[in-house]
């Protein structure tokens, strides 16, 4: 019994570690919501070893634990992932221990996308997002097949360890995780977080603007108004009543460390999220 717990604990650590590393690597994704899902290798090994019920619970735990680590707990991406994980858990319950890991991977990948899209529809109440489901399904199936193949190989490699007296599998998994963590430490890119612009007037934060969608905003300040224009990932002062027009001439800003300021209106616009590439830009 204790061995079962130890194995599951280690596999959970491996799964969480893999999910975290995948989030750090920021692999290019053809569509938002599509990803490789490397961590599912751990879930599939649990399926082969401990059956559908354990694997279902394991998948959910792993999602929550990884969200804690990447800091996305309770953010929109967390709920989307939870939807996907719930759908996959349901499927794993149905499949049970007997199925091949490749089949489980493919079906699991598809189920995840269905669950994720369902969560998206629930969150946004926008049926239009359904058009993303077919391409996401195709990508999910492909990623699921890849992780299924990986899991088959990994499970085959660790199988002697489960049965032998020496706990080779655990050590194998532990060293794999340690190596992966070392790799992540070496690479350690900036945490990918949503970009937003923070507008400060006379030293006080006035509003935060999500830079996800294009729009224009009118900002009333003491002495006049400023019109801010947002495009995905960037913002600028489109027009301003101020005398010197320095803010308008500054143009677009798209990263931290390069603020737009308007001294006459005591207004400062900075971008938060992502690492600054420069400490400042001299003007």
């Amino acid at each position: 019994m204790s061995r079962r717990f130890a194995s599951l604990g280690l596999l959970l650590a491996v799964g969480v570690g893999l999910q975290w590393i995948e989030s750090l690597l920021a692999l290019p994704s053809p569509l938002p919501g599509a990803k490789l899902g490397l961590a599912n290798v751990a879930t599939l090994i649990v399926l082969a070893r401990f059956g559908g019920g354990t694997a279902a619970l394991f998948g959910l735990l792993r999602h929550i634990a990884a969200s804690l680590l990447t800091g996305s707990l309770l953010l929109p991406t967390f709920w989307l992932g939870l939807g996907g994980s719930l759908a996959t858990a349901l499927l794993l319950l149905l499949l049970g221990r007997g199925s091949s890991l490749r089949t489980a991977g493919v079906l699991g990948g598809a189920a995840f996308q269905v669950g994720q899209t369902a969560a998206l529809l629930l969150l946004t109440a926008t049926p239009g997002f359904l058009v993303y489901l077919p391409p996401l399904l195709a990508l999910g199936v492909a990623a699921g097949w890849a992780t299924g193949v990986l899991a088959t190989l990994a499970e085959r490699a660790v199988r002697p360890g489960w049965q032998g007296p020496a706990d080779r599998a655990e050590w194998w998994a532990g060293s794999l995780l340690a190596a992966a963590l070392a790799l992540a430490l070496l690479i350690r890119p900036a945490p990918a977080s949503a970009r937003e612009a923070v507008v400060t007037v006379a030293g006080r934060e006035q509003l935060r603007i999500d830079l996800g969608t294009a729009r224009e905003l009118t900002l009333p300040v003491a002495g006049g108004t400023m019109v801010l224009q947002v495009e995905p990932g960037r913002i600028r002062v489109l027009s301003s009543d101020c005398p010197d027009q320095v803010c308008v001439l500054t143009g677009w800003i798209d990263r931290p460390g390069r603020p737009v300021y308007c001294a006459p209106f005591q207004t400062l616009i900075t971008i938060q999220g992502g690492a600054p590439d420069l400490d400042s830009v001299i003007r």
Binding site: G174, T250, D254, P264, Q266, D279, S280, V281, I282
Partner: protein
């Protein structure tokens, strides 16, 4: 014993890995550098402190930026230059820092051959920058130029006082007061034990020591025609930097750009250069020289730089070519 160890080893391994994971998650989250921003009369300022007594240091630095601004920005009617200009013909006692600024101005008037002029306020005012802009007539220009230049004002160092000879001369320390403010702010940081930090006043900066990650501060130089682009990057440590550009304050009339960097000899916007960036041991030198080297252009400017120890410069010419002094060429990371 051995069997027991074997049984517990995986669990202990698991705990170890979990602990390691948590440790890594908390890694690199030591106190980030303290950063504060504020506004002066016409500029945005930012102070960053990495070490030392950071809250007091940053507060003192922002306070001294404001104090120098109030003392030396002539657009503040209570400032020393405004008081001197108003009291034409009379000696006006000045603060020690004003005296220092005026001494620097006096010495650089000569060293730049008149490319730096602390009495050009009357000419600048004719253009009405920041108020729509207006091109002065040749007669207006000639009149204002006659009231400018080194002969237009006097300094009594021993008596710590200054005066302009005639009414209409407008003392303007805009070519150096921001640099001096940055130097004072850096001194305030140092006085609070800050050895690593950044004083950023938009066009004038001073980098103390290294960043939190142990590398030099990285300062981008704005593209003179595409404000959202960076033309080059300069790594900076224990040095000041300043830029003068024809894009900071200007208006256009009849297809011509009238910008605020005026040639004191003609009273017209200096031509041939889009921007000049200067590195110097102090921010006041960098500030002052960025204006003078803009007016002089790369050829004559190179010669002035070679006579100024610790100074490097980068010109962006009208054809968007970069001309750097020899000491800067290897340090410059050109972006586009």
């Amino acid at each position: 014993m051995k069997a027991r160890l074997r049984r517990w080893a995986p669990s202990m391994g698991g705990v170890l890995v979990a602990a390691l994971t948590l440790l890594m998650a908390g890694w690199d989250r030591s106190a980030p550098p303290l950063e504060e921003t504020g506004f002066l009369l016409d500029a945005y300022v930012r102070v960053v402190a990495v070490d030392g007594d950071r809250p007091s240091g940053v507060r003192a630095a922002l306070a001294s930026l404001g104090a120098v601004e109030r003392l030396l920005n002539r657009y503040d009617p209570l400032s020393d230059p405004a008081r001197i200009s108003r009291a034409a013909g009379e000696w006006v006692p000045v603060e020690p820092l004003t005296l220092r600024a005026l001494l620097l101005a006096r010495s650089w008037e000569a060293r730049t051959g008149g490319a730096f002029d602390a009495a050009l306020g009357g000419v600048i005012d004719l253009y009405r920058f920041g108020d729509g802009g207006q091109v002065p007539s040749p007669a207006e220009l000639a009149g204002a130029l006659a009231l400018s230049g080194a002969v237009a004002w006097e300094l009594d160092e021993a008596g710590s006082r200054a005066r302009v000879a005639r009414a209409g001369t407008v003392l303007d320390l805009g070519g150096l007061h921001k640099g001096l403010a940055v130097d004072q702010a850096a001194a305030a940081l140092r006085a609070h034990g800050v050895t690593r930090g950044l004083v950023d006043a938009g066009g004038n900066m001073l980098a103390l020591g290294l960043r939190a990650d142990g590398s030099p501060w990285r300062i981008g130089i704005q593209h003179p025609r595409r404000p959202d682009r960076v033309l080059a990057v300069i790594p900076l440590s224990d040095q000041a930097i300043a830029t003068s550009g024809d894009y900071q304050q200007f208006f256009e009339q009849g297809g011509k750009r009238y910008h605020h960097v005026l040639d004191p000899r003609t009273g017209e916007p200096a031509s041939g250069v889009l921007s000049v960036t200067v590195l110097a041991p102090t921010a006041v030198e960098a500030d002052l020289l960025s204006t003078a080297l803009f007016v002089l252009g790369p050829e004559r400017g190179m010669e002035l730089v070679s006579r100024s120890p610790g100074v490097e410069a980068l010109w962006v010419t009208g054809a968007l070519e970069l001309v750097a002094t020899p000491g800067l060429r290897d340090r410059l990371e050109v972006r586009e």
